[in-house]
Symmetry: C2
Amino acid sequence: MGEAGHEAAVEQFRVSVVGSGNWGSVAAKLVASNTIGHPFFHDEVRMWVFEEVLPCGEKLSDAINRTNENVKYLNGVKLGKNVVADPDLENAVREANMLVFVTPHQFMEGICKRLGGKIRSDAEGISLIKGMEVKKEGPCMISKLITDMLGINCCVLMGANIANEARIAFEKFSEATIGYKHSKEVAQRWAKLFSQSYFLVSAVQDIEGVELCGTLKNVVAIAAGLVDGLDMGNNTKAAIMRIGLREMRALSKRLFSSVKDSTFFESCGVADVITTCLGGRNRRVAEAFARTGGKKSFNELEAELLQGQKLQGVSTAKEVYDVLSHRGWQGLFPLLTTVHKICIGLLPPSAIVEYSEHAPNFSLVEGSAECY
Amino acid sequence: MGEAGHEAAVEQFRVSVVGSGNWGSVAAKLVASNTIGHPFFHDEVRMWVFEEVLPCGEKLSDAINRTNENVKYLNGVKLGKNVVADPDLENAVREANMLVFVTPHQFMEGICKRLGGKIRSDAEGISLIKGMEVKKEGPCMISKLITDMLGINCCVLMGANIANEARIAFEKFSEATIGYKHSKEVAQRWAKLFSQSYFLVSAVQDIEGVELCGTLKNVVAIAAGLVDGLDMGNNTKAAIMRIGLREMRALSKRLFSSVKDSTFFESCGVADVITTCLGGRNRRVAEAFARTGGKKSFNELEAELLQGQKLQGVSTAKEVYDVLSHRGWQGLFPLLTTVHKICIGLLPPSAIVEYSEHAPNFSLVEGSAECY
């Protein structure tokens, strides 16, 4: 009794989830199933909801709190009674010292501006955001943006858990990788918050490598989709995925010397490349692009096929291309370079696997075994 | 003129291909397209044919030499005029100093017995044979068998080029990895013999790692097929493939301390795992096994689905299991262990991704990042 009382007196970690789309809702559910009844965490998980009015006239946040489901973005899945939707961003984060960021990457700068000075001084952050802007000077890591603008430490969580995120909500087995910069203890706390028997979380001290995987894999998925659209078969697709993974690794290491090879064996690396190349929307639109022989643009196909969802691979391919040409690295990254040239119509889809003076010479790629 | 005459006087390398199944015929075609007109190689490629009589009454070797096609195992593909089918094993290898071995692995011991003392003393070998017997004392590497029995150096060539080998014959882009033990120069010679613009060959100094990949991946393919049959989706499948690759790597390193991590980023590693888990026959039969809830045995399904072709994954899983239990390593390799237990009906197919006291605890696997 006395001991229980003592434990209760220790301050518990309080979690807020900033974002409530499909993946944000899944994350809230995962986290909430771990905080409840755990001596270490406060039960309640606040989830910031970008307020919308549903067709029936009800506000989304009210609907979530009434039904315990995100009726718009993760319909049919109970989030857990301890998830509280809150449309007021500042209020949603005020008490939390564990902040989970899971919004479209374009929104993060604005969100950080609004949150400056409004969060607890002992807060820690984690970004689940895949995709970032890659500027000529280098990639705009979301974890760094959060650290710089909010003055807090920030980890990342990536892995083979996209495209059908709802599957995690239905408790199908999957994995994730946490990337951390300094504190293993903090990474372990995040892992404890997210781990489930059906959701295996590991941690590596390589935040840049982990975060870059979540962005660069979308370019590889376009390459894989092109191979699908050309009906080249599994051997070719496997080769393109492998070469893509190799270029991701080589580019990440050139951009950040701290990046580790072993990161690319983790869920954020090889497994996310696999799932994205098997089922993601970048793959799907690229397949359609190749099937039409490049006659319809990616923009057109995106509008036709994705009902308002956005492709990241095409814009990331362009941004990566700008980095490569800015630094004179195109020859070292033939797959990444060629994807962009195909996307903008400079090369035909078949160039991804054809040898010509314009097509990739994969045997020259750095980071590979010796080729002949 | 004088110089050309001088070159012609240098002895050329002569190639024989021992084996003429589907992959053997593809290999002969690949090789023959490189030897022809090359100053370095003698034009003619001898291909040893295990003689059969075709339904029309013609001998297979005669049919190959008449049509320039392997009408039984690679119908419709011209092998190249410089390929000569030879049903006489000793005669087929007599003049060669580059011996390409590509037969079912069970036949190699008998072939080596017949060839002892019958080959050139300066011969080099390369094995394209995927699959080996794994005894309790360790794996029976085909390359080592050849070296021990014939007294010659032997490389291996593996990679994402199975299941639809004929695609390579139709010149779809794919890759391969050569594993070598000592001589980089010899590996380069083999790479020169096999490389094409559509067939990218690299070489790594890790013969054991490369050769083990070609065998162990079949066990991973069974795991992937089970996930398909359970309709678990791509995230789960990607996770299982990743964990499988990790266990392949960890087991190979335990068996041979010389094995390198980087080998598993090569075509023989990640790419072969991908293609085998997407399209191979181990995957296919395992999917059917899971769909029937394990009610039909692998033997029955193999007979139903494969028209006389044989599965390797099930027997390799058993052999690997024997190694693991012999050495007390089962807990370190939960995926490899569980595949065998599912194959023999000791666990249900769903155990591959379910957590229970009997199911795999993947977080304990060695060679992984820290799990929580």
